[in-house]
């Protein structure tokens, strides 16, 4: 494969607060090839969004420190002057956010937003920018785009607004699109349409996509590779097929187990990962997942490295026994209905926003 488009190495994002230093992202490394779709999954607060936003300089909190490196086409985004970063943002790297209800400035038309996106980075006449905006709206499947372009965000439905936001992201043909929970706020039908759109986009434009989500279903439909994050660290990373069919990390088992499967034997209760996510203020020095892990043992007091060739994981369990261990977990859940498991993946409060 060619030179990676984005290569993140040992990214660390921390926030100073009165209660101590919260480490939101702790030594994250991954790389992304051109045209590749990377799905980043994990519970809320696992550092998915924070890591991406910190690379782009979108975290304005003065108490935030970003360390490590994130090379985009060879130049490091971490520590880059905001002036230079701004040129990349929206032109080479576009990021779209979860809630399409609030992510557009309410007093401007949809067309204005798209035109602004174009004209910030290219010198183009207003009329041409407008024409391009109509094209883009048509491309993302907004009916009657020439008329709808003068609508205000509140006149669009949620799904249409998310498409408009995507159209805005595509305006300058970015080589990387970071989509943060693009389908979370939408109903199922609209979700499917938006996923379709993203798939087409990758085919037609050849853009790389980083898809941040807590929904394993979304990842399974779109991603080439999957990165599972827990407590600001990578728990597992690998090709989609591998991660879904041969997951190696007990946390990934939990995540996959908590997706209801139509054909799987019925369980009385959806299996859940016991305990609640590690607080960013007190991430264990060893394996972050150990306090919630059924298979935690002495060695887990030491932090496991992310190891492997193409399919990597950070766990001390002997690799050859993993399959067997995972099935023992399934049996327990099916038989006993999860004694002592009080909560499923309980989302942590977003402490960094």
């Amino acid at each position: 494969m060619s030179e990676p488009l984005l290569e993140v190495e040992d990214l660390r994002v921390s926030f100073r607060s009165r209660r101590g230093t919260a480490v939101a992202v702790d030594g994250l490394s991954f790389s992304l090839a051109p045209g590749e779709v990377l799905g980043v999954v994990g519970e809320s607060g696992s550092g998915k969004s924070v890591s991406m936003m910190s690379m782009l300089g979108l975290i304005r909190d003065p108490n935030c420190t970003v360390e490590g490196s994130a090379r985009f086409r060879g130049s490091d985004l971490v520590g880059m002057a905001d002036k230079d970063l701004r040129v990349l943002r929206g032109r080479d790297i576009a990021m779209i956010f979860q809630d399409p209800m609030t992510s557009l400035t309410p007093v401007y038309t949809v067309g204005w937003h798209i035109a602004e996106q174009i004209r910030v980075h290219q010198s183009m006449s207003k009329a041409r920018a407008r024409a391009r905006a109509v094209e883009l709206l048509a491309e993302v499947g907004i009916p009657d785009p020439a008329r709808r372009i003068d609508d205000y965000p509140h006149q669009f439905s949620g799904g249409m607004r998310q498409r408009a936001v995507i159209a805005m992201g595509l305006a300058n043909n970015p080589s990387l699109l970071i989509a943060d929970e693009p389908t979370t706020a939408l109903d199922v039908t609209t979700q499917a349409q938006v996923l379709d759109l993203l798939r087409r986009l990758r085919r037609d434009h050849g853009s790389s996509i980083i898809l941040i989500t807590h929904d394993m279903g979304v990842v399974s439909q779109l991603a080439d590779r999957v990165l599972v994050m827990y407590a600001g660290r990578a728990a597992e990373e690998g090709p989609r097929q591998e991660v879904f069919h041969h997951p190696r990390h007990p946390y990934t088992w939990g995540l996959l187990g908590s997706v209801p499967r139509a054909r799987a034997p019925r369980v009385r209760r959806l299996p859940a990962i016991p305990g609640s996510p590690a607080s960013a203020l007190a991430v264990p020095s060893g394996c972050a997942f150990a306090p919630r892990c059924r298979f935690a043992h002495d060695q887990c007091a030491e932090r496991p490295p992310l190891a492997g060739a193409d399919h990597l994981d950070a766990c001390w369990l002997p690799r050859d026994r993993r399959h067997e261990l995972r099935h023992s977990l399934d049996e327990v859940a099916t038989a006993a209905g999860d004694p002592g498991q009080q909560s499923i993946i309980v989302p942590a409060t977003e402490e960094f926003e």
Binding site: T105, P106, V107, V120, H121, Y152
Partner: protein, 322 residues
Amino acid sequence: MVRFALARFGAAVFVLVSISVLVFLIFFATPGVDPAARIAGRNADQATLAQVQAEFGLDQPLPVRYALMMKHLFVDRDLTSFVNRGVLVIPQIVHAVPVTLSLVLGAAVLWMVVGVAMGTLAAAWRGRAADPLIVLVGVVGVSIPVYWLGEVVNLVTQSRLHDSVFSWVPPLGYVPLTQNPAQWALRLLFPWLTLAVLYAGIYARVLRSEMMGALDEDYVRTARAKGVSERRILIKHALRCSLIPIVSLFGLDFGALVGGSALLTEVVFGLPGVGRLTYTALQNLDLPVILGTVLYAAFFVVLSNALVDLVYAALDPRVRHV
């Protein structure tokens, strides 16, 4: 948009009529008050009392009296002062309006420019030393009595430092713009500053908190992700959205000031505006004049509120399509 404008217009007319009824009730139907004696003024003779009785139909039922008063005010326009016998009320008000407008317009321009600049800067510099300072200025702004500040300004510019620093300050009073623009501005300078200083503080404070809210909005994050510059985010996105509540506040304050709340400033600086007219009438208990100025005031408040509603709709597309 037309329907919207019509609805607002209807509401404005309703409020205006209601205010006139309220004024009427206050002056003519307060239990235990003899309106004839009040309108005729202090030490009125029997002839004057009889004249008042007849003119306002004080022996007639209330609705007839109301109609008579409205007729005097708007149809015949012949309401006369009984204190200064025979002086018509309406021309007095018409003469006073330009003074009040000069005062309030000038001050409004000043306080909007300064207030918006201060509020925007405070929001841009949040967390730095200038920010709490602006907040404090805002609190002081709502806390100082404007008439007292005016007195202090007079004390300094007209008396204590008049022989040195402020020798260029003309005496108190008003010179019409058409007569001498330079004198007009010079004489209004300190009244403008006095009025504007307080409001600028208030507006800076309100705008700051609005903009802080706006800067935390998702759309600002989106704009940043688009590569929009910080300055453009501040002005085109955050300020533009924060101005909407500021405009409605401005309409309220502007209307109230032109309508008579500038009274205190006018009294202190000896400006013969509508407020001072009310004040003089008040001291002589010249009821017809008070009646006239209060209704004029209500008219201005309602008018400016209606205008604000229209501007609001122009500024905020969400209102327009409801």
